[in-house]
């Protein structure tokens, strides 16, 4: 299948939904494409429409009124025929063409079948979000250890609580809604281990005070946690997990200022489930091969560089949301709207009332960005986190490359970045292509304070060679 439009939006999370809605209101023909079974992305992850009654999840969400309004706008435009919404479609690559961009996807609506789809448009907006940043620890590959986002996605997408006694760890405000949701659905959350110091937020009061909605959201989670008697331990980290076939015991320790476990503070906590997250990594897989510049996001990662209209450095290519630096759903919605206004302007679409309020949205973006930056500074990766690794701790889960092997590549072959380590040790060469281990390997070999830039991945999601073969033009090649 091949289809063309004025704008292709990849990712139907908060940023992509908002961008598509604004562009549609402005009169454009839009294709909105997402790998999920329902619009919403990770933040507003929902079961498919047909299963909403069987799997109720409304109580787990925040900001649902915005979500519902965006859904209503999108379905109205499906009615007018200007929106093509493609769910269960996985984009495997994008390419620049003379008149814009070609987006190559596989329709997996009836997995494992794959059907090639190509979408073409003069403008492309990538809103692919982010995923949990992981730091390995001994036992992190035991069954029952999940990412914090993984626990949340099971809850929001399938109504499933992954375990009965849960310890959460890592850093960042995202741990709190996960803890609250698990507790609300009957799991015993034994501890939330936050590596940052409790006073850290106080260093940036202005950014926090300008975002009262964030206070309210935080207060709601705090209330839920208090009601369920969930202890939040700051300056504490999960430093190990033990068990036979499934995690049974979690080891936690208090951290010194550098993040090194303090001797004598280790505790052993019985748990069958662990959720870990150290902030997020922007999902840049579709942006990097197109050649767009990156910028330091301030949280130890590189993100797409954009101007104040969400334009990347590649003409016709826009991005919004976590790809520009992690900052949450409200920011993503504002950025999506700003990006769509830029697309409308750049394509010289006739102005329509109500679709262009860029000044207000840009102020909202600036306010949310300031808040995100303050949050990132309050929740840094503890610089000494590698102290809790043993030489035999797997760092790359796919190829089972240990911390010792990564350190040896640095010592013996002077490897100074994760790409070089990959070539020498296979860390990052397996199924996940370094999406899980990349940030950790980066920390282990690169200079301190150098943000993580992911390796370029020309293939954004695995596709079968058969489906690829069928997607190409017929050749007369006799082999």
């Amino acid at each position: 299948m091949s289809e063309s439009a004025d704008l292709v939006v990849v990712g139907a999370g908060p940023a992509g939904m908002a961008a598509a809605a604004t562009a549609l209101d402005g009169g454009l023909r839009v294709v909105l494409i997402d790998s999920g079974a329902a619009p919403g992305g990770q933040f507003w992850r929902h079961p498919p429409l047909s299963a909403r009654e069987a799997v109720p999840t409304a109580d787990l969400h925040h900001g649902l009124s915005t979500y519902r309004a965006l859904c209503a706008t999108l379905s109205a435009h499906e009615g007018t025929g200007r929106l093509t919404l493609l769910l269960n479609h996985h984009v495997w690559t994008t390419a620049r063409e003379e008149d814009g961009f070609a987006v190559h996807a596989m329709d997996r609506g009836r997995a494992p079948e794959e059907r090639a789809v190509v979408l073409r448009a003069p403008a492309l907006l990538v809103a692919t979000g982010a995923y949990d940043r992981q730091l390995p620890f001994p036992g992190w590959d035991l069954p029952g250890v999940l990412t914090a986002g993984g626990l949340q996605s099971l809850l929001k997408g399938g109504g499933v609580v992954a375990g009965s006694r849960v310890v959460l760890g890592g850093t960042g405000p995202f741990l709190l809604p996960v803890a609250a949701a698990l507790a609300a659905r009957g799991a015993k959350v034994v501890a939330v281990c936050e590596a940052a110091a409790p006073s850290a937020w106080l260093r940036h009061p202005a950014a926090l005070l300008r975002n009262p909605a964030k206070w309210a959201e935080g207060a709601r989670y705090a209330g839920t946690l208090a009601r369920h008697r969930v202890p939040v331990r700051t300056r504490t980290a999960i430093v190990g997990a033990e068990g036979e076939g499934r995690v049974a015991v979690v080891r936690t320790a208090a951290l010194d200022a550098a993040g090194r476990p303090l001797p004598g503070t280790e505790r052993r906590i019985e748990a069958d489930t662990v959720g870990v997250g150290w902030g997020f990594v922007p999902q840049l897989d579709l942006l990097l091969p197109l050649g767009c510049d990156l910028a330091d996001a301030g949280d130890g990662t590189m993100a797409a560089a954009v101007d104040d209209g969400q334009r990347t450095t590649v003409p016709g290519l826009y991005t919004a949301g976590e790809t520009c630096g992690v900052g949450g759903a409200a920011l993503a919605v504002s950025e999506g709207r700003v990006a769509a206004v830029s697309v409308l302007t750049d394509l010289s679409a006739p102005a329509r009332p109500g679709t262009r309020r860029p000044a207000a949205e840009r102020r909202a973006v600036a306010r949310h960005r300031a808040f995100a930056r303050a949050m990132a500074q309050a929740h840094p990766l503890p610089p000494a986190w590698p102290a809790w690794l043993t030489d035999d701790t797997p760092v790359c889960r796919c190829e089972e490359v240990t911390a010792g092997a990564v350190r040896a590549a640095r010592a013996d072959d002077a490897a100074a970045d994760h790409r070089q380590v990959k070539q020498l040790t296979r860390a990052g060469m397996g199924w996940c292509q370094g999406r899980m281990c990349g940030p950790a390997v980066h920390c282990l070999v690169s200079a301190r304070d150098q943000p993580y830039a992911p390796t370029e991945r020309l293939i954004a999601t695995p596709v079968t060679l058969g489906a690829l073969a069928d997607s190409g033009e017929p050749t007369t090649d006799p082999s």
Binding site: H104, P289, D412, L458, P462, T464, A469
Partner: protein, 386 residues
């Protein structure tokens, strides 16, 4: 003798390995880490099968023996050295006839070849109905970055040093002979000889040293599948690959090359495009490579592509590497332009360059036997490029 090798790819590492083993004072200069350029973008081919009789095949035969020696010294496991053999298959009786004629000429030049009637006996998963092929037992494979890193480490054990920096200019004495290399930060590395082993950037490095050579990039994509249990035993390719390697056509050429790796992934090549240093993704190339691989090995239809990478093969207009002293700047030697054969030709190149530096044969490399690769072929007798 002080030697600066510019380039820490497989060729530079092999030059340093041999020169240091011969007792020369070697410094390897590169702006990046070991094997980060074209070395990291290839499959690790050590091939005789794709080379027609001539100067490149002679170097390849020497190099094949030296790979055995090098793997022995480095540890074959540490560089994933596999003497797996190659299997070239023809898809039509006509192509098979041409392949047999080609193989007969190679055999006359000293290559071991074995006609194969039933390719399915060597490769159980190959497509049924192929008329036949030729087995090349000497073809081998190595993991290129591990090999470059291993050779460089061995060179350091023999006394070589490494220096991170970018070569910007030659320092020459009053006699016009090279006296050193200046790097981007102003450091001067003193040298009696400078080896240009900068691969795809060899043309630019040659220019900076006052001895320009015409090295151009030829883009290629390689596809990597999910890891699988062993399914493909040899390096298997279609007979048209040989024609494409030697082709000077401007446009896109793809010919099917499929092989397994120690890690379980299957590598699929090879495309050839002359598009300069254009890094953009070309989905049509990927689709065409996938289609060709699936025709050769039908089971691949259900196997996932998980990665693709592209690199730039450094090639000379006559598709032969340029190896040896440049008469325009005494002390400058070129060792680049290996196109897609740099991994296989690296130890032979390193030994040949070392022999040229020493002025006598080294490890089976006799400068007098490889004159067809000298830079002179691009120059008039007055030293002006032809």
């Amino acid at each position: 003798m002080k030697v600066v090798v510019v380039g820490a790819g497989i060729v530079g590492a092999a030059c340093a390995f041999h020169a240091a083993a011969a007792g020369l004072d070697v410094t390897v200069l590169d702006r990046g880490p070991v094997g980060a350029g074209t070395t990291s973008r290839g499959e690790g081919n050590i091939l005789l099968s794709d080379k027609e009789p001539g100067p490149e095949l002679e170097l390849a035969r020497l190099s094949r023996d030296l790979w055995d020696e090098a793997a022995e010294e480095l540890g074959p496991e540490t560089v994933e050295f596999e003497t797996k053999g190659g299997l070239v298959v023809a898809s039509t009786p006509d192509a098979l006839g041409a392949l047999h004629a080609f193989a007969a000429r190679q055999a006359a030049a000293g290559v071991r070849t074995e006609a194969v009637e039933r390719v399915g006996e060597l490769e159980p998963h190959v497509a049924p109905g192929l008329p036949g092929g030729v087995h090349y037992p000497q073809d081998a494979q190595v993991q290129p970055v591990l090999a470059a890193a291993g050779l460089l480490r061995a060179a350091v054990r023999h006394g070589a040093r490494t220096h991170t920096g970018e070569a910007v200019a030659a320092v020459t004495g009053t006699d016009g002979r090279i006296a050193g290399v200046r790097t981007a930060d102003g450091t001067v590395l003193p040298a009696d000889a400078v080896v240009n082993a900068a691969g795809t950037w060899g043309g630019e490095v040659g220019r900076r040293l006052g001895a320009p050579v015409g090295i151009l990039p030829r883009r290629g994509f390689v596809l990597v599948t999910e890891p699988l249990p062993p399914m493909i035993r040899h390096k298997v390719y279609s007979a048209d690959y040989v024609a494409n390697v030697a082709s000077s056509d401007e446009g896109l050429e793809t010919s099917c090359v499929v092989e397994g790796t120690r890690a379980g992934t299957i590598l699929i090549g090879a495309s050839r495009e002359r598009v300069g240093f254009d890094t953009s993704m070309n989905p049509a190339v990927v689709a065409r490579l996938a289609a060709q691989a699936c025709r050769l090995f039908p089971f691949l239809r259900g196997v996932h592509l998980i990665r693709a990478y592209r690199g730039f093969r450094p090639y000379c207009p006559d598709h032969l590497p340029v190896i040896g002293p440049d008469p325009r700047v005494p002390g400058v030697l070129h060792a680049c332009g290996h196109e897609g054969a740099g991994i296989g030709l690296a130890p032979g190149t390193g030994a040949l360059v070392t022999a040229q530096l020493l002025g006598r044969p080294w490890r089976g490399a006799d400068p007098a036997a490889h004159t067809g690769l000298l830079p002179d072929r691009f120059l008039t007798t007055g030293g002006v490029p032809k």
